[in-house]
């Protein structure tokens, strides 16, 4: 049976289809690009076979592979963070982008890029290659916390306040980014563009080493929040009545979302819509329980981002579109279609 008693797609078939899709997209991603690789060669190289052409080996293992892994991890984490924040705020619109988390992380990263040589040189000297991702992480978690504090008044999380706070935070972060752009020199401007539009083009094993552990940590910890987040869907008081520590759940959710989005933004720049669209689609198809939404959002988010990345580097080859732009192009219309098709809560 493909549809269960609740009118949802059954989990077994869904898992098979989505894993198959993820695998297919991964192979296509390894094959496509400015230097196309044949599927046979890829499978041979992955199987440990020596290639006659050393360029094949280099392209696959030094360029495509880290890019694929980073894209998948970042997409998973963005989608899972979206799912967590939506549960926490009891609102399907609480995307990391809408409440300003991504903008906060990006602002922090850009601050380090532009001021790293002058005002913040101490920070950069102290942390080296960790300076940027840690700043993005701090920026991300700081903003979630701020949005949460502003939106919560007298025990109630006000949805309108949350979205308005998000607009304000986005505006302030945008102004900060603009100001820094004004002061940036040419080379800094080039890295700035990367941050504001998002890209997997620079992905390397180094990036994976820096961000990978945080992304993986966020993915591993997120399912622990599934049951308390389900309780959150019935209101904060019910969480306490069921014996969970409301404060611990909130802190955990904020930490995971801040950690994940911060780390993702640190290596990929700003990529929107994954966190909004993916959990929404998963909920429509498979139900709203976080025990389902979190793992399937991870799978679908990773697949979506890798797919978008494939398209981004094929449509205008040999150049590449920024993936953030690509996601907005895909995600915007998708989201509108969903909005028109289903009743938004």
């Amino acid at each position: 049976m493909l549809i269960d008693a609740a009118g949802r797609v059954s989990q077994g078939p869904a898992l098979v289809v989505m894993s198959g899709l993820a695998l297919a997209v991964a192979l296509i991603s390894l094959a496509s690009g400015a230097y196309p690789l044949a599927l046979v060669d890829i499978l041979g190289l992955l199987g440990g076979q020596d290639s006659s052409d050393p360029v094949h080996h280099m392209v696959l293992f030094e360029v495509r592979m880290p890019r694929l892994l980073l894209g998948f991890l970042a997409g998973s984490v963005l989608a899972v963070s979206g799912a967590i924040l939506q549960g926490l705020f009891r609102n399907p619109l609480a995307d990391p982008g809408l409440i300003g988390v991504s903008a906060g992380a990006a602002l922090a990263a850009i601050t380090v890029i532009v001021l790293g040589g002058t005002v913040l040189s101490g920070w950069v000297d102290l942390l080296g290659r960790w300076a940027l991702p840690l700043a993005a992480f701090a920026g991300g978690s700081g903003t979630v916390f701020l949005a949460w504090k502003i939106a919560r008044r007298a025990g109630q999380t006000s949805v309108a306040t949350l979205l308005l706070a998000g607009i304000a935070i986005n505006a302030v972060a945008g102004a900060g980014t603009g100001l820094l752009t004004f002061y940036a020199d040419d080379s800094e401007l080039r890295s700035l563009t990367f941050w504001t539009m998002g890209s997997l083009g620079q992905a390397s094993w180094d990036d994976l080493v820096v961000a990978g552990p945080w992304l993986l940590l966020a993915l591993i910890l997120a399912p622990l929040l599934a049951r308390p987040l389900d309780a959150f869907l019935m209101g904060e008081q019910v969480v306490g009545h069921l014996g969970y520590s409301t404060l611990a759940v909130k802190r955990g959710a904020i930490l995971i979302a801040g950690l994940g989005v911060g780390a993702a933004v640190a290596v990929t720049g700003l990529i929107g819509f994954v966190g909004l669209v993916v959990p929404h689609v998963v909920r429509q198809l498979l139900g709203a329980s976080h025990r389902t939404v979190i793992p399937y959002s991870a799978l679908a988010g990773g697949t979506l981002l890798v797919a978008a990345d494939c398209i981004a580097r094929v449509v205008v080859a040999p150049a590449e579109l920024p993936i953030g732009l690509m996601m907005a192009l895909i995600g915007g219309p998708c989201f509108l279609a969903l909005l028109l098709r289903t009743r938004m809560v």
Binding site: A231, M234, V238, Q284, A288
Partner: protein, 265 residues
Amino acid sequence: MLLDVRAVCIELAGKSIVGDISFGLRSGEFTVVLGPNGAGKSTLLKALAGDLCLTRGEALFNGRRLDEWRPPELARSRAVMPQRVEVNFPLTAREVITLGRPARSARAADPVIDELMELLDVQALANRSMPTLSGGEQQRVQLARVLAQIWGSPAPRLLLLDECTSALDPAHQQMVFRLLKELAHEQGFGVLAVAHDLNLAAQHGDSLILLRSGSMHSKGCPQWVLTETALWEVYGLAARVTHQPEGFPVVIPSGRTGDLLKTAV
């Protein structure tokens, strides 16, 4: 004493909502808290549920102060039904009830869920999404979740219910209050329920607590508490109280003081 409320005062934003209330609830006792809007019923219940802090006084559950219980331990012994629970996400009724069983494995089928769905007449709604259910249906699903939480737990067991039948039709109101009475009398639950329906409370409650502007007006068995004088004093309600052969009083309201209609008629 299962629940021992001693000289409890609750202030919200500097304003006294509940002032100096004391009462006790034994295991196996079903007590209904009555009173006009704003009398402090919900505030009192929220404080006992741990949502609000007591300003003064103390509340003991099974001999231990409520704030000294570890939350997971307390959740196995005390279940709370808030006045309003809105579920905006498409969780099914069964998923909501399952949330009441945090300690149990999520995968294995839990017979308690089906038992409770039958008791509250929600089997047919099991796979329906919560936002598509009517207010009364949602309320019965929530009640099943609340009961699931302490179902099968060892004593002590305490149920705190805030207007748990406000959206139900008369037949389901009777069903729920009869169930609560049975749980108290046969399984030793302590049940403290806030309600507005005087007759429902009188018919099923072992004892009633009548609140007026944050303090206790009277407490005791329904015949003793629900008198024409008390209703006039607390609600400003003119009513006739008759007594049924079964032993409980029935309130027949006839109007309110200063009622414009009365002068018009």
